[in-house]
């Protein structure tokens, strides 16, 4: 399987100075990931871990004070290779929506409140291919019915639809041109639980139907568990573990991932849940060595000074932890 996204040693910082105080926030600190074509890839992490910034950089949508200070991001669309960080505006707008699309957080606010949904569809489609209003309407109607959305949506205004419906319409808008690469940023946040399930299912269906690659960024492990194939766990701007969903949920190696999974409440039992002591570091003041060391129960002297490199412990499983020497069985468990 080929890689559709390749990020190598990516470093992106927010550099700002106000009233004489200079501040550097290392939001993305030496991240390398590869997303395979046709998979559903999840980026997990709590608030302040840098995942939203990583998304911005992967999309090439970074603006000052966010500056890429190192590394590269490349897309590989079959025969075409694109360097995301250096491509010109013309290429960028060319691939936007057609090859690469983005479902933003809070999709409900994305739709133009004074235009009917059908017109929004027309705007988006006609920006990329010449099409008449009638054709765009037909196209939209066909696509919506494939996704289980009623035709009446097209003649409605956004405020006439429920929040969940708007979210699904936005997803339909983002994917109608069958882009090869879709980014979804917190697609289920602020939605009711029943609607969340519908959205997760919708995303799965679209990905299966179109064979696209889906990158899902969210802190909600429930979404990852039921949607993605592989998960990368971020902490303090770095990747601390990356593996397939099963491994992350049942057999994680990195202490942070272990804590994270064990602290999630489950409906199958009420035993005491673990909570991680301390709190995530501010990204402008990350601890030396391993960023997790102040909170890690297995901290060693080495962890305080030497940053653990990301090692492949076995096929498809990478971890950044001094405890993991190459054999997973040596990793301590909480």
């Amino acid at each position: 399987m080929t890689n559709i996204i390749e990020a190598v040693n990516l470093k992106a910082h927010y550099i700002s100075s106000a009233y004489g105080v200079k501040r550097t926030v290392k939001a993305v600190d030496n991240i390398s990931i590869q997303v395979k074509a046709g998979e559903i890839y999840g980026i997990a992490g709590e608030s302040g871990c840098g995942k939203s910034t990583l998304l911005k950089v992967l999309l090439g949508a970074h603006r000052p004070p966010l500056t890429v200070v190192g590394g590269s991001v490349k897309y590989h669309f079959g025969a075409r290779d694109l360097d995301v960080l250096t491509m010109d505006e013309r290429t960028r707008s060319d691939i936007r929506w057609k090859d690469v699309s983005y479902i933003p957080q809070g999709s409900m606010h994305v739709l133009n409140p004074v235009r009917r949904i059908g017109s929004s569809f027309y705007d988006f489609i006609s920006a990329h291919q010449p099409v008449s209003r009638r054709d765009s309407h037909d196209l939209a109607r066909a696509y919506l019915s494939e996704l289980g959305l009623p035709e009446t949506v097209l003649t409605s205004y956004p405020h006439q639809l429920s929040g969940g419906m708007r979210q699904r319409v936005t997803i339909a808008l983002a994917t109608i041109l069958w882009p090869k690469l879709i980014f979804a940023d917190e697609p289920t946040t602020a939605l009711d639980v029943v609607v969340q399930r519908g959205v997760i299912q919708l995303l799965k269906e679209i990905q299966q139907k179109e064979g696209s690659t889906l990158v899902v960024i969210t802190h909600d492990m429930g979404v990852h568990a039921n949607l993605v194939n592989r998960i990368a766990v971020l902490y303090a701007g770095k990747v601390v573990e990356e593996a397939d969903t099963n491994t992350i949920l049942k057999n994680p190696s990195h202490p942070y991932t272990q804590y994270l999974i064990k602290s999630l409440p489950r409906l199958d039992h009420r035993g005491e849940r673990v909570s991680i002591p301390g709190r995530p570091p501010a990204l402008d003041n990350v601890p030396k060595g391993c960023p997790f060391h102040p909170r890690c129960p297995f901290v060693m002297e080495k962890c305080k000074t030497v940053e653990p490199p990301v090692i492949t412990v076995r096929a498809g499983h990478r971890v950044a932890c001094h405890l993991v020497t190459g054999e997973v069985s040596h990793a301590a468990t909480i």
Binding site: G163, D192, R197, T245, L260, L264, P265, R266, I276
Partner: protein, 326 residues
Amino acid sequence: MPQPSDSPLLQIEDLTKVFHTRQGFSSKQFHAVDGATLSLQADKPEIFTVAGESGSGKTTLARLILGLEQASTGTLSYKGRSIGALSSREKRAWYYKEVQPVFQDPFATFSPLKRIDHYLYETVYNYKITDRAGANAYIDGILNEVGLSLAEIKGRYPGELSGGQAQRVSIARALITHPSLIVADEPVSMLDASLRMSIVNMFRKLKENQHVSVLYITHDLATAYYAADRIAVMLRGWIVEMGPVEQVLGDPKHPYTQNLKQSIPPINPDAVWNEKMDLAQLDSDAFAHVGCKYANRCPHVMEKCRTHEPPNILHEGRTVKCFLYE
């Protein structure tokens, strides 16, 4: 302080709050809370969860209990006294000492322009908990209960603390007057997943040590299952199922509760969703105005459900508002 009498701590009967929205010349009525009935015992502190989705009325119910809204009909009494009849001065003198809130967003709970300990000292002084000399020691003691210390937070602005710390301070402030009831509105939903459990664990501990009952409002059923003793599930203003949490969430009887439970994404990779849900079901957003509010979405709907309001039936240890169990 625990009340030695038999009177319940909090008693709500047939409580209704109607909002009127004006549209041009007509006005529509919206029953945010519709005939809610529940009670909390005084002698046995518990964590009582009110769960529901957006529009269920859980937040309005919390505001009614806190005295921030006036009910339209029904009774709301605390330790035998009717709250609706209290003036705001009376509330300040007595009720706000007994019932304290914890809000969802710890950074909205405090003014960002004020140091966070300002609220702690204000609470101590305004309710005359101790004199100026004893204030520091008292506040430090309360902060210790929530895992913090006065030295850590003194002089700091809310923005300097993490979400978890700020929320702990918010809880500490609520504890200063030794309330018998804390109304917590989504207290952990804005915190990171790894921090949530520490706050929920803390509520459980406070219930034991400080003898304070907690009314825990949330939409997150998984956390509710872990935290609560009893739970009430709300739908569009109605309490559709209420009882001990193992019963209600372990073996839900009301079709809505069953639907909610099924929709929670399971974390266990062996238990992930297998059946596809019917997406069209999400579209029938119109909740019925006559009869059972869930009639349009209920898989077991009967003729009766479309015309009559279901009664509250006691079934297998909990109350269910559904004709199925008559």
